[in-house]
Structures are given as structure tokens and as C-alpha cells.
Symmetry: C2
Subunit: 356 residues, 2 copies
């Protein structure tokens, strides 16, 4: 087994945590007997933009399409490059042009992680957020009338297609069906957003007909965020639109202690294009360059990528090593109320991985 | 002082908690020497709809416009009337036609309320969510192409006007300026929702020029929900669009223990139309008719209404009575891990109010 992986650290703490993710990947390759062909890229970063006036080289598609996966850090450095250039010129472009229509984000309370919710134990919180990743509220269709005047009106369209909604729902139902609880929660707001959201509900019901064994419920997004805090043990698989999935997949990890450990996968399930794996945290300009970022998000992201590539054993071994390391207060970074540096926290996981 | 108040209990637990709210209003009138002219209405409920085929009588505007305020319970009974009829035919119509463009919701950790966040004390969490209440994501502009086919496309527009954005921002900045911390947080998502949300940011900056003494920051809605859980002590006044404000004003009360105690005001600040006061919780069909709903949300709503009418002393006395009552485990309802009935919980507040 040999995998071609594009490695794109991007900006800020992306540059600090990606090397740690690469180390665990290499250790996993050694231990589980597969080979990695890593292609490191400087593009997809604001440094690259400063030099070239563009986030990606003209031939980025030729470079990335033949890879088996993209191992991504974080992008964005608003102090020098506006978000709409850096994000829409890299990450959001990958998601769309590589048709990575599934954004999959596990929410799991790990041992040793101080949980902000009172009285919750590891095992209580363990679910997935499945986010639509290509259309919906992120459509970029719209514009401004009477710009710059008192009468100014600004419009942006949410666009949902049957194609786009059904395929994400199918993924979510399949995932729910594969899990012991077989329970799918849909995030909606059909009582307030009265055109697209009732449509979403209707497609959930239609798809549910094909999954009679999956228990299904729905909550409006406002009260759903409340339940994430009050009843996080209630969820198994939660599916939402681009915006709702975005919100829930930051809130979920926050409820389990920190977004610093949360991984995510941008998946093209058909495999026509490479999928992209990135931690949920962003480039974090406020702590960048200090060597204190939590590397666990990137390391867990490595595990998600290996699982996607079929290296399930290796993936499980990495997650187990994370759990072992986090149990040790000395290997926790500042966001986990520890004092470990990025390097020390990553070393702890590597040691646990080697020892297992 | 004499106030004309329209009382609309609506559906579900609205019918159970509104009478408790009325009791405290009457007690307050006695104690603080003002008069109430209460006009009870059965419309704005699904029962009314069942009988009349419409949520409101034809002359609802003539009936309600001359009142000083509307004291509202909750509306919605999806088992018999679809939400888009019950909500859009009453509550959402009031908000729009009475130009109640401010939705104001306090988020405060009360003594005696079990907080789902570990280690938080009363005093740690005390802020306001200011929500735009008439436009934005709730626009109802849009439609469907190729309905019922594989090619189906559904579009809904978010509409922001300079007029609509500036007036809610002005309200929020004024509120922030009136508070000791003078701190305003804006909810945005300009990195993903690339037309309307950058516009929102731009108007926040422009308005901020007139409020140099107000400290201002902004977070994208995804990470903002995370901060509500991880750093709720960071906020003073949080302003958001219709949808973002909706989400944050359920999440905030959840972080303080229950949405069962949270009040809200739908305000027309110019006073051209009556303002409407309602608890944040809805009609709660799952617990309706059992006499176990928490009446505190409706009672606190009564206090917000009195404050709005200028009866500040009475309002403060009610809030103080709520705090006293909640300290007593015996006066807490089930959502607060107590066993009190609606009646018992309300009696406890009334007793504390009378005793003070
Ligand atoms: C019932 C619903 C339409 C309403 C809203 O979203 O505005 C409610 O959630 C609220 O917050 O007042
Ligand atoms: C950076 C931003 C555009 C992005 C998103 O909203 O999709 C991020 O929040 C995420 O969740 O991946």
C-alpha cells in the first residue's frame, strides 16, 4: 500500500501543527507497513499570496487531483490578506472544485480533557456532525442595490438543490445506519426560514423512507444548540446545512473541552477527487508563532485521513495514543489548562503510539 | 399611571404560564400603585385557528395598536396547525407589522439555578443578546425551480437594508454605552457568507465611529457559540442578525441552566406601535397540560414589560423575588431538577414579592 498525500500547512499555527501530524503519519507508516509519498506545498497560504499575488498556482488542479488525499493545516491571516481572498482562494475552492460535499466532524469527550459541561464523563459525548459542504448559505449569489446610500439593500441567496441536499442526507443516513444507535438528528429552522428549510425537512422525510431502521428526529437550530449544552448525550449523528453544520461543529467540540483537538474531513465520497483533512481550529493568529498550539487536532486529523484511506488499524492506534497521552496532565497544552508546548504534546502522543 | 395591556396566552404551556405572569403583574400594580387595564384575547392560538380558520381576527390591528404593550405566552401546536401558519400568522406578523425590530434577551445566571457549565457562579454570566427582528435571514423572498423533480432548486434570500441594519446596531451600541463595561460583540460570518455578512461588519464599523467609548469585537458565529460555552464571562452586549440572534438567545439561556426562565422583549423603540413581551421558551407540546412548566420565564417577562413601561422599581422587585424564590430548591420546577408544579413555583415568587 502506497499513498500520495499533498501536505499543505497554510498559515499561522497550521505551520506548527502540520509537522507534528506528519510525524505521526510517518510513524504509522513504519509501524503498519504502508508507504507515504508526501508532497509538501507552500501554496494555499498568505505567505504564498504575498509572493505571488494568488493563493494557488495556476496548475493546482493538476498537482492535487492525482493525490489520494490532502493533509491540510489552516488558512487565513486577516492582518495581511482579507478572508474572502485567502479562504475563498484556497480551502473553500478545494471544497467546491473537488466536490467535497461532506464535511464530517466527530464530537467526542476524550479522557483527560477538562469538560466545560458539569458532570460529563468520557463516553457521554460521542457523535458526528455531518455538514453539507458545497452549497446552501455559502452560495455567493447576490449583490447590492443603491450601494453606499441610505437606501442600500444587500441580498444573498441560500441555494439548495435536490441533488445537493439528497446526497448529504444519504451520507448521513448511511453513517447513522452503520452505528449501534442508528439515530439521526436533523438541524432545521423551518419555522423561521420558511422556504429552504421546509424543503430540507421534506427531503429528510423522503430519504428516511429508505432507512426505516434509523430513528430520526429534528430540532430547530436555536434549541438544538441549547441541547448540545444541556443534553449532549442525546446525539449520534447530526446532519445540517452548510451554515448550521459549521456552527454545530464548533459548538460540539467546545462542549467537549476545546476546539484544539477536533479533526475534520472534507470528503468526496465517490473518490473522483481527493478528499481534504484539516483540524477544526483555524490559523489562530493570536497564538501563532509561540509554539503553544495544541497539535492533537492535527494528529487526530491524520487518523481520520488514514481511516479514509483504509488504514483503519493505524487510525485506531493513533486515536488510542491520543487518549493515552491526554490522560497525562503534563502532555496537555494551554487550551487544556496544561503547560505543554506543541512539541511536548505531540511527543507524548508519539511515545504512546510507539509503546502500544 | 394606567397601562392598557393585551394578554395573549396562545398555545400549550403559554396557557399555563400566562396566568402566573398576570398574577405577578396584578401584585405589582397593587404594591407600586399603578393600574392595569388587561384585555384578554383568545386569538393568536391554534385553538382560535381551529374555530375561525385564521390566527387573528380581521380587526387585530385596531384592537392591539392602542395598547401600551402585549403580554404574550407562546404560539404553535404543530400537531394540528403547521408552524408556517401559526407562527407567521401571529407572532412573526406582530414583529413585522408593529415594527418590533429589536428582540432583546437577557442572559443571566441566577442564584439557585443549576448551571450546566462547570464552575460558573451567579455574577459570572450577565449579558444581553440584541437580535434584529424584522429582516435578514427571515425574509420569505425566494422560491422553487423545477419543483418535484430531480433538478429541483430552492432559493431563499437573506435581505439586509441599511435602514434595518443601522437601527438595530444603534440600539445595541446605545445599550452597551449605558452599561458599565461598555462592550459590544458582533456576531458575523463574513468569512463564509460573503455578501450580506461583510456588509454587516462594515455597518458595525461605521456605527462604531459614533461610539468611541464602546469597546467592540466580533466573532464568527461558529466560534462565538463555542465562546458562549467556554468563556461566557466575556460578554456584555452581543448583537446579531435575525438568525444569529435567534440562535444565541437560545444558547445563552441554556448556558445559564434552562430556557425555562428566559424572558424576551420585541421592541418598537420609537413607540409608534406596542412592544410585545414573551418568554423565550415556546409552547412546549411535550409538557403542555401537565402543570409542570416553569413559570419563571413568563414572570421575568412581566418584569421586562414593566421596565419598558417605566415601572422600573416594580420590575426590579419582581426580578429580586425570582432570585429569592429560586434559591429555595422546593420552588424549582423539573427543568431545574426540582419537583415544583407551575403553580407552586409561581406561588414562591409571589410570596417572595409580597414579603420584600
Ligand atoms: C418560533 C420561531 C419562529 C421564533 C424565531 O425563530 O424567531 C422563536 O424561535 C423565537 O426565538 O422567538
Ligand atoms: C474559515 C471558514 C470559511 C470555514 C467555514 O465556515 O466553512 C471554517 O469555519 C470551517 O468550519 O471550516
Amino acid at each position: 500500500r502506497r499513498y500520495r498525500i499533498a501536505v499543505i500547512p497554510g498559515d499561522g499555527i497550521g505551520k506548527e501543527v502540520v509537522p507534528e501530524g506528519v510525524r505521526i503519519l510517518e510513524a504509522a507508516a513504519d509501524k503498519f507497513g504502508f508507504r507515504l509519498d508526501l508532497q509538501h506545498h507552500a501554496f494555499g497560504s498568505c505567505d504564498y499570496y504575498a509572493e505571488h499575488g494568488t493563493m494557488l498556482p495556476a496548475n493546482w488542479k493538476e498537482l492535487l487531483t492525482p493525490t489520494d488525499a490532502i493533509f491540510f493545516g489552516a488558512v487565513g491571516w486577516p492582518a495581511t490578506v482579507p478572508d474572502h481572498i485567502s479562504l475563498w482562494g484556497s480551502l473553500l475552492q478545494f471544497r467546491r472544485e473537488f466536490d467535497q460535499y461532506v464535511n464530517l466532524r466527530p464530537v467526542r469527550l476524550m479522557p483527560g480533557v477538562p469538560c466545560p459541561l458539569a458532570g460529563r464523563e468520557p463516553g457521554d459525548i460521542d457523535f458526528y456532525v455531518v455538514r453539507e459542504n458545497t452549497e446552501g448559505e455559502y452560495s455567493s449569489v447576490g449583490g447590492t442595490m443603491y450601494p453606499g446610500t441610505e437606501r442600500e439593500i444587500v441580498i444573498q441567496e441560500t441555494v439548495m438543490s435536490r441533488h445537493g441536499v439528497d446526497r448529504i442526507l444519504k451520507f448521513a443516513f448511511d453513517l447513522a445506519q452503520s452505528r449501534p444507535k442508528k439515530h439521526l438528528t436533523s438541524a432545521t429552522k423551518s419555522n423561521g426560514i420558511a422556504i429552504t428549510m421546509p424543503y430540507w425537512d421534506q427531503r429528510v422525510e423522503a430519504m428516511g423512507e429508505h432507512y426505516r431502521d434509523v430513528r430520526r428526529d429534528k430540532y430547530h437550530i436555536d434549541i438544538l444548540t441549547a441541547h448540545f449544552v444541556l443534553n449532549p448525550d442525546r446525539f449520534d449523528v447530526v446532519v445540517g446545512s452548510n451554515l448550521f453544520g459549521d456552527i454545530l461543529s464548533d459548538l460540539g467540540p467546545a462542549c467537549t473541552g476545546t476546539i484544539g483537538i477536533a479533526p475534520s474531513a472534507n470528503i468526496n465520497p465517490e473518490g473522483r477527487f481527493p478528499s481534504l483533512f484539516e483540524p477544526v481550529h483555524g490559523s489562530a493568529p493570536d497564538i501563532a508563532g509561540k509554539g503553544i498550539a495544541n497539535p492533537v487536532g492535527q494528529i487526530w486529523t491524520a487518523a481520520m485521513m488514514l481511516e479514509h484511506l483504509g488504514e483503519v488499524e493505524a487510525a485506531n492506534a493513533i486515536v488510542a495514543a491520543i487518549e493515552t497521552a491526554l490522560r497525562e496532565p503534563a502532555s496537555r497544552t494551554r487550551d487544556l489548562k496544561g503547560t505543554a508546548t506543541t512539541r511536548e504534546a505531540a511527543e507524548a502522543v508519539l511515545r504512546a503510539f510507539a509503546a502500544a
